[in-house]
C-alpha cells in the first residue's frame, strides 16, 4: 500500500499530498531528499507522514547522515530495514531498538569484521523485543559503566517587533536522555517545579497515570538515546528574552546605497554567557551587495540568494558585537519597501530559561549504582526580529 522511496528534488514548496488519478503521493522533505509514499486509498495523511519521518529518523540513526549517496551506497540495508518496518503497508517494527537488533547498522568496524569473519549484518538471534511488553527495550543489556544522562533543552520561540517589544514568545522544552544501564532498570525522575510544564508529550515508556497523579516521570528507559519528554511552558509565565537586537536598516530613495547596522546585546541572561550566536537575514531582492564590517565574528552575504549570515560567537557584555556597513542597491530601481527580518540563533549553557529544575533521579529494579548526570541548556528556536 505504501512505500517510502527517495526521489530527486525540484522545489521546496511542494505540497505534502499530491493527488493523481489512481494514487496519492505523500512526501516529506528532509535532508534535501524527498521521501515519497504512494497510497491508493483513504488513510490519515499524518499516519503516512509520521511514518516517513520515522523512516528518515531510522536511516539517520543507521547511517549517521541521511543523504542521497549514503542511501544509494546502502541500498541493500535500506531494503532490509524497510522490509522490517512495513508489512503490506502497515507499520510493523518502528522502534529503532528493535530494528537494530534485527539488522545491525553498518559501521566501518563491522564491515571489516564481517569481511574477515564472514558474519553478516543481519542479526542471527531472533528479535525478542517485538514480543516483549516493553517493546522499546532490548533484553539482556549489559554495560560496565552504568550511566544515565539527561539533557534538559529549552528553546525560545519568539517574534520581536520593530521597536523591540515582544509580540509572541513561548518556551518549548525537551528532555533528551542517553541511558546506558544494565538489565531492566526502572527510573523515576521528579521535578522541583513540575507546575511549569503545561503541555507534555511522552515517550511511550512513561507511565501516564503516575504523571497524572504525582507529577513524577516513571519509566523503564529504552537503551541508548531517546527523547523522554517534550513540553511546553505555560503561556502565563512571562518569557525572559535573553538577547536584544538593535537594528537600523534604511534605504534612501535617491541614492543606490543603503545603511545597515545591527548590534546584539544580552538581556535577562541570569548571569550566563550567550554563546554560538548567529544572525541570518534574508535581504530584499533589490540589494545587490553589502559591504559590512563586523566588530567580531565573520559574516557572509550570498548575492544570489540574498542571504546575509553573521557568525557572532560569544557575546561579551562589555563590548557588544555589531555589524555595520552599506548596501548597494540596484541602480534606478525604486527602494524596496519590504523590510528584512532577522533570525537569531544562540545557546546558553547551564540554564533552563523557564526555571525548570530536576529534583532527583532514582533507580529501582537493579542493584548497581548508576552514574547520573543532568545538563541544562537554552537555545533559540524560531527567534525572529522584525525590522
Amino acid at each position: 500500500m505504501l512505500r517510502g522511496e527517495e526521489r530527486a528534488t525540484e522545489a521546496e514548496n511542494v505540497p505534502p499530498v499530491i493527488p493523481t488519478p489512481h494514487h496519492y503521493l505523500l512526501s516529506v522533505y528532509r535532508h534535501k531528499i524527498f521521501f515519497v509514499a504512494v497510497v491508493q486509498t483513504e488513510v490519515p495523511p499524518l499516519f503516512v507522514i509520521e511514518f516517513l519521518h520515522r523512516v528518515v529518523d531510522t536511516f539517520q540513526d543507521y547511517f549517521g547522515v541521511c543523504s542521497e549517496p549514503v542511501i544509494k551506497d546502502n541500498v541493500v540495508v535500506v531494503y532490509e530495514v524497510l522490509e522490517e518496518m512495513l508489512d503490506n503497508g502497515f507499520p510493523l517494527a518502528t522502534e529503532s531498538n528493535i530494528l537494530k537488533e534485527l539488522i545491525k547498522p553498518p559501521t566501518i568496524l563491522r564491515t571489516v569484521v564481517n569481511t574477515i569473519t564472514g558474519s553478516t549484518n543481519v542479526g542471527d538471534q531472533l528479535p525478542t523485543g517485538q514480543l516483549s511488553v516493553v517493546p522499546w527495550r532490548r533484553t539482556g543489556v549489559k554495560y560496565t559503566n552504568n550511566e544515565a544522562y539527561f539533557d534538559v533543552i529549552e528553546e525560545i520561540d519568539a517574534i520581536i517587533d520593530k521597536s523591540g517589544s515582544t509580540i509572541t514568545a513561548e518556551i518549548q522544552g525537551v528532555i533528551d536522555a542517553c541511558v546506558k544501564l544494565t538489565g531492566m532498570p526502572d527510573l523515576t525522575l521528579s521535578f522541583m517545579n513540575p507546575r511549569l510544564l503545561d503541555d507534555v508529550s511522552f515517550h511511550p515508556c512513561v507511565r501516564f497515570k503516575r504523571w497524572e497523579s504525582e507529577r513524577i516521570l516513571s519509566f523503564i528507559p529504552p537503551d541508548g538515546n531517546f527523547r523522554l519528554l517534550s513540553y511546553h511552558v505555560s503561556a502565563q509565565n512571562l518569557v525572559a528574552i535573553p538577547v536584544y537586537v538593535k537594528h537600523s536598516i534604511s534605504f534612501r530613495d535617491s541614492s543606490s546605497l543603503g545603511r545597515f547596522e545591527i548590534t546584539v546585546g544580552p538581556k535577562q541572561t541570569m548571569g550566563k554567557t550567550i554563546e554560538g550566536v548567529t544572525v541570518t537575514s534574508q535581504m530584499p531582492k533589490g540589494v545587490l551587495n553589502m559591504s559590512l564590517t563586523p566588530s567580531q565574528g565573520t559574516h557572509t552575504f550570498d548575492p544570489v540568494t540574498k542571504m546575509l549570515s553573521w557568525d557572532v560567537g560569544k557575546i561579551n557584555p562589555q563590548k557588544l558585537p555589531s555589524l555595520k556597513g552599506t548596501m548597494s542597491l540596484q541602480a534606478g530601481a525604486s527602494k524596496p519597501d519590504e523590510n528584512p527580518t532577522i533570525n537569531l540563533q544562540f545557546k546558553i549553557q547551564q540554564l533552563a530559561i523557564s526555571g525548570l529544575k530536576v529534583n532527583r533521579l532514582d533507580m529501582y529494579g537493579e542493584k548497581y549504582k548508576p552514574f547520573k548526570g543532568i545538563k541544562y541548556m537554552t537555545k533559540a528556536g524560531k527567534f525572529q526580529v522584525r525590522t
Binding site: P16, I49, D87, P135
Partner: protein
Amino acid sequence: MSAAPAYSDDKGGSAGPGEPEYGHDPASGGIFSSDYKRHDDLKEMLDTNKDSLKLEAMKRIVAMIARGKNASDLFPAVVKNVACKNIEVKKLVYVYLVRYAEEQQDLALLSISTFQRGLKDPNQLIRASALRVLSSIRVPIIVPIMMLAIKEAASDMSPYVRKTAAHAIPKLYSLDSDQKDQLIEVIEKLLADKTTLVAGSVVMAFEEVCPERIDLIHKNYRKLCNLLIDVEEWGQVVIISMLTRYARTQFLSPTQNESLLEENPEKAFYGSEEDEAKGPGSEEATATALPARKPYVMDPDHRLLLRNTKPLLQSRSAAVVMAVAQLYFHLAPKAEVGVIAKALVRLLRSHSEVQYVVLQNVATMSIKRRGMFEPYLKSFYIRSTDPTQIKILKLEVLTNLANETNIPTVLREFQTYIRSMDKDFVAATIQAIGRCATNIGRVRDTCLNGLVQLLSNRDELVVAESVVVIKKLLQMQPAQHGEIIKHLAKLTDNIQVPMARASILWLIGEYCEHVPRIAPDVLRKMAKSFTAEEDIVKLQVINLAAKLYLTNSKQTKLLTQYVLSLAKYDQNYDIRDRARFTRQLIVPSEQGGALSRHAKKLFLAPKPAPVLESSFKDRDHFQLGSLSHLLNAKATGYQELPDWPEEAPDPSVRNVEVPEWTKCSNREKRKEKEKPFYSDSEGESGPTESADSDPGSESESDSKSSSESGSGESNSESDNEDQEDDEEKGRSSESEQSEEEGKKKMKKRKKVSEGQGEGTSSDEGSDSSSSSSESEMTSETEEEQVEPASWRKKTPPSSKSAPAAKEISLLDLEDFTPPSVQPVSPPMVVSTSLATDLEGLTLTDSSLVPSLLSPVLGVGRQELLHRVAGEGLAVDYTFSRQPFSGDPHMVSVHIHFSNSSDTPIKGLHVGTPKLPAGISIQEFPEIESLAPGESATAIMGINFCDSTQAANFQLCTQTRQFYVSIQPPVGELMAPVFMSENEFKKEQGKLTGMNEITEKLTLPDTCRSDHVVVQKVTATANLGRVPCGTSDEYRFAGRTLTSGSLVLLTLDAQPTGAAQLTVNSEKMVIGTMLVKDVVQALTQ
C-alpha cells in the same frame, strides 16, 4: 503491493543521473547492468554452497531491483535458496520473492512447501515470518493454503503469530475477495483477542475487509477502549478512527440539546469557554447550563471512549494526536472539545508536513468552533521563514479567529505581512483583510482605508489584489465611497494587471451614477486603448459602455457604438458575441424589441454583495484528519462519517456477559496481575486503572491471556483454572446451585450417550462455571439429545449475532443455548421441542434415513441471534439432517424463535439475503406474530453449494432488521447413502490419488468401542454407515447435497489405538475439512 511497479519505475528514472556512483559500490551490481550474460555469474554464485557468495549475489540482485532493473530471469536460481540457513540470504530471498512471485507463479509454488514447514515450527518468530512471506506471495493458486494458514495462525498460542495473521488478512483479501466471509470469521475471532499486540492489526484488517460490519465491534468495544492506551502508535490511530465511526452510529449526539444555542453561535462559544474554564470532562456543567431542557445523559460507553482517548493527546506521534483530536471534534460535547486545541497547537512545532496537515484541520475546526483556538491566536503568527503554503494556511486560521475584540492585533499583524517579500503571501494577506472587513463590520472602514493606501504601493501585484478586494467590499455600501471609486478610476492609467483593470471598470460601470462625470471619460480612454487590452478587460469595457449608454446616453452614445464596432471585429469570438448581444439589447431595433425595454433592468439590476468566506467552510463534512478532508475530495475507500442516530441503538449489545461479572472487582484487588485479562469488566468497575501500565504485571498477564486465548486445549485449561479460583473463593449460593445442576446434567447426559463421560471431563469446569445455566435448560438438553460435548467444541464460531465474546465462548462451550440471565420460561421450551418433534414426524416420512445409522441430530443448537442483540428475540438454529422437502440440494435448517421481550413480535420473515455466488435460500413462511414468552420453529432450506461459506441474510420483524449468518460445518453438507461393501470398495478405487486424504491419529482410550466411534463420526458428518467385514474397520458413505459427489470415509483402527482415517472425495476441500473435523472429534 500493487503500487510497487509504479514506484520502481520512478526510481529507475531518478537513479539515472546517479548512475556512475553505483559503479563504486560492489553490491550495486552496476557494472553488470549492461551485460546480461553476467547473470550467469550470479546464478553460479547462487548455486554454490558458500553463504558468503550467495549473500553477495543476493545483494547485487536486490540492488538491481532497487534500480528498477528486471531481475526476474534469475527467479529459479533465487527460489532455490529460500531454505538457506543464512538469515540474511533468506531475508533477501524473501524480498525478491515477494517482488517477483506474481510474475512467475509456477516457480513461486516451489517455495511454498518451505513456508508450510515454517508454519509448524516451534519458534513463534519463524512461524510468523513464514506466514508473513507466504501471505505476501500473490499467487491465486495458493489462496486455500493461505486461508488455512491464516486460520491456524489466528488461534496460535503466540500473540505475535496472531498479529501476523491479522496482517495477512488484508493481503489475502486483496488477492481473492471471494474469501471475504471466511476472513470475516477470522477477524471476528481475532477481535476477541485480548492482547494489545493483536488489537491494532486486527482492527486494521477489519477496516480493510469489512468496515461495514459494525456489529462485530459491539462485544469488543469496551475492551478496545480499555486496551487503547497500551496499543502501539500505529494501531492506536486505526482503532481511534474506527471507534469514531462506531460511536457515530451507536450513540446520541451530545450536542443535540445545544441546537438552540447554535442559532446564536457567538453566544454559544462564549458559553463553551466558560465550561472550559470549569475544567473538561463534566457533563454536569452542560446539564446545569441547560436546566430547562431534558437533560442529555451520555451513554457510559461514549464517556468511556472519550475518557480513554484523552491521555493519548499527549502522545509523541502526531498521527495519534490528530486522531484523538478528530475524535473529540466529532464526538465530544462542545464544552470538552477545547482540550484538543492545546495538543494541536503543539504539533505546529513539528515538521512542516505535519504543520501543513494540522493547519488544514485547524482551519476547518476554527470555522465551527472559533472559541477553541482563540487563546492560541499568537501561535498562528507567521514567521518569515515559514514555507508559503504554511503561511497561507496560518493566515486562513488567523482570519477565522478574528473577532471584534482581537481584530486590532490581527490587523496589525497583517500590516507587517503586507511588507513581506513573498508576493503570493502578500496577495493572500490582502484577501484576508478583505474577509475580516466583511465579517467584522466595525473595522470595515479601517480596512478599506488600509487597502486604498495599498493602491499606491509600488508593487503592481499588491495593487491589483487590493483593487479586486476593494471592489468586493465596495459592493456592500457603494453610496459612501464615491471618493474611492474616483481614486480607482485614476488608477486605470497606471495599473496594467488585467484582473484589476477589469475590476475597476466593472465598479465604475456599476456605480456610474455616483461618479457621473468621470465615467464617460474613463470609457473614452478605454475606447482608445481597446484593441490593446486583454480579453477580460475588453469584456468589461463593453459592459461599461452598455451601462453608460443606458444611464447617460447623451454623452456616450457615440462612444458606445465605437466600442461595439471595434468589438465586432475582435479576434476573440467571445467578445464578438458579447458585442452583438449587447447591441441588440441596448440599441432599439426597428421592431422595437421587447428586450431593449428591459435592458436597464438587465444591466443595472441590484447585485448582491459577494460573500467572502473561507475555502474551508464546507470541509467539515469530511472526517477530519482524513486524506479526503485534506484534498477536499473523496479519496478512494473513504468511509463517510455517519450522522448521529435519532435514537440510540440498544446499548446492551456491548454488554459482555461474563458469568463471574460481579466477582471481577474483588478478584482485581486480590490479584492485580490479571487486570488486562479482565479488561472488559474493568470498563465497568474502573476503566482508568488499565491506563496504568505496570510493565511487570503486564508481562504476567500477557502470558496468561495468550495462553487463554490460544487453541482449544489451553482454553479448557484456563477454564479449569478459573474454576479452581472460584472454588477457592467460595461461590455464591446461586452459582453453587447451578454447579450442582451442571453436575446433574452431566450425569444424565452420561446415561443418554454412553461412553463419552471421559471425553467431556475436561469440560466439566466450563460447564459448571457457567453459573447462569438453568435447570430448564438441562431438561431441554435431555429432550433434544445433544451431541457429545467434544463435538460442539470445535464447531466454528457460528454467527455474527454472537460476536465472539471470549468469555462466553470459553465458559459456555457446553451450552448451546445462549447464556441467559433470566430463566427461560418452561412452557416455551416445551412448545419448542414439541414443535420440533412434530415437524420431525411429518417429515420423517419422506426421509429414508434409518434412525439407527444416524442416531443424532446434526449440530446442537447454535445461536443465530442473541436475546440481547435481538431486543428480546432470541433465535437458534439446528441442522435437522432431514432432507429439505422443497429442494433435495438444500440443507434443512430448523430455526427456533423465542420471544423473551414483553411485547409481541410481529411479521417475522427473511429479508433480502446477501448471498455469495451459488448459495440460495428457501425462506420460511412468515411468522405473523410471536407473543411474549412464546416460541416457534420454522424450517428453511439453504443450498450451500458444497462450500462452508456462511449464508448471510436479514431477519426482519415489523420494526427491526437483524443481520444474521448461518455457517454450516462441513459435515452438514452431505447426506448419507447406502451401499454395500463391494460398491464402497469400487467407488473408493475410483477416488484415489489427489482425491484421497489420509491422516494418522491415535484414538484415546475412551474412544475405542464401536459405538463411540460410530457415534462420533456420524455426529460430525451426516454420513451413513456401510457394513463392513472386519471389526476394526469402519466405513461411512455420503453424497454432498449440491453436486452429489461421493464422500467415502474409512477408519482403520488398530486395537492399540493407532488409527488411520481416509476420506475419498472428488471435492478435495470438503475432504480436507472433513478429515480435520473427524480427527478432532475422535481424538478429544
